[in-house]
Amino acid sequence: MAVAAGTRAPEFSLARAEGAPFTRDDLLGETTVLVFYPFAFSPVCTDQLSLYDELRDEFAARGATLYGVSCDATYSQTAFRKQLGVEIEQLSDFEPKGAACRAFDVLHPGGFPQRALVIVDPDGIVRWSYQAESPSELPGANLIFDHL
């Protein structure tokens, strides 16, 4: 199951669209919501990012920034984001594949992220985490708002 609430966020390194690293240090100073999703362009992930993106202003008003995390390459994530027309920044766990997902304990045995949500406080402590029962379950945005 996903990393437990109350624990410090693990060390990890993800790649931003332009290739720069996004690490635990980038979690400090703001409330972060990591949205782990199985695959770019897959049906449920499409609905999930579209829905959450529609609520970006409301999340920002609550002081939270969302990031999408998958094992897809940065180019795939960027194409996915552009095709959907969403703004949520994407972070790639492509190489070493799934290492950050493993650190957050959300790596599916099939080699892709579980569908999971992790909220990290500005001090780097995990406030709340949720792992969907199956990758086909789309967690409502209310679950995130309930924990902000």
């Binding site: 499409t46 609905d47 999930q48 990012l49 579209s50 829905l51 993106d53 529609e54 609520l55 409301e58 959907l84 027309g85 969403v86 789309l138 967690p139 409502g140 945005a141 209310n142 679950l143 708002f145």
Partner: protein, 149 residues
């Protein structure tokens, strides 16, 4: 809300650009339900869904919500502004007032309130039906109406 007052209540979260919602709508019309429709437009999935929802609420200001609702679902391929004006004219609405209302803050707030209410209720996709306290989404919602005797 429409349908017989003593009929079972069905709450529908939908958007006018969603093809599954249109398929559901056809089935709903054939059944004796009391229907409450709530807007759940997600712009990145359906870019004209929000504008169409605003059109329905602007028609509501002139007492023609359901007429516009039906006209939108009946022709989902035509949801651009001139198509909305044409519908308003065909329904006998004051088109100038309709156009002002559909761009108004009051109408936008009404649609957004539906959307936010849906988010709070855990709605994630369209169509979603709420019947007897149970939630049915997507294909499941359509199947429910197809196979219920």
């Amino acid at each position: 809300m429409r349908g017989p007052e003593d009929a079972p209540l069905v709450i529908v979260y939908g958007d006018y650009e969603c093809p599954f919602c249109a398929a559901l709508e056809v089935r709903l019309r054939a059944r004796p339900y009391r229907v409450a429709f709530r807007h759940f437009p997600v712009r990145s999935s359906h870019p004209r869904a929000e504008a169409a929802a605003h059109a329905a609420e602007a028609a509501a200001v002139q007492g023609a919500f359901w007429a516009m609702h039906d006209a939108l679902f009946d022709d989902q391929g035509r949801l651009e502004d001139p198509h909305l004006w044409a519908r308003a004219e065909r329904l006998g609405l004051d088109v100038e007032r309709f156009d002002a209302d559909r761009r108004s803050a009051a109408v936008a707030d009404r649609v957004r309130a539906d959307f936010r209410g849906g988010v709070r209720a855990g709605i994630v996709t369209t169509p979603t039906l709420l019947v007897d306290g149970r939630r049915y989404s997507g294909r499941t919602a359509i199947d429910l109406l197809t196979y219920t005797p």
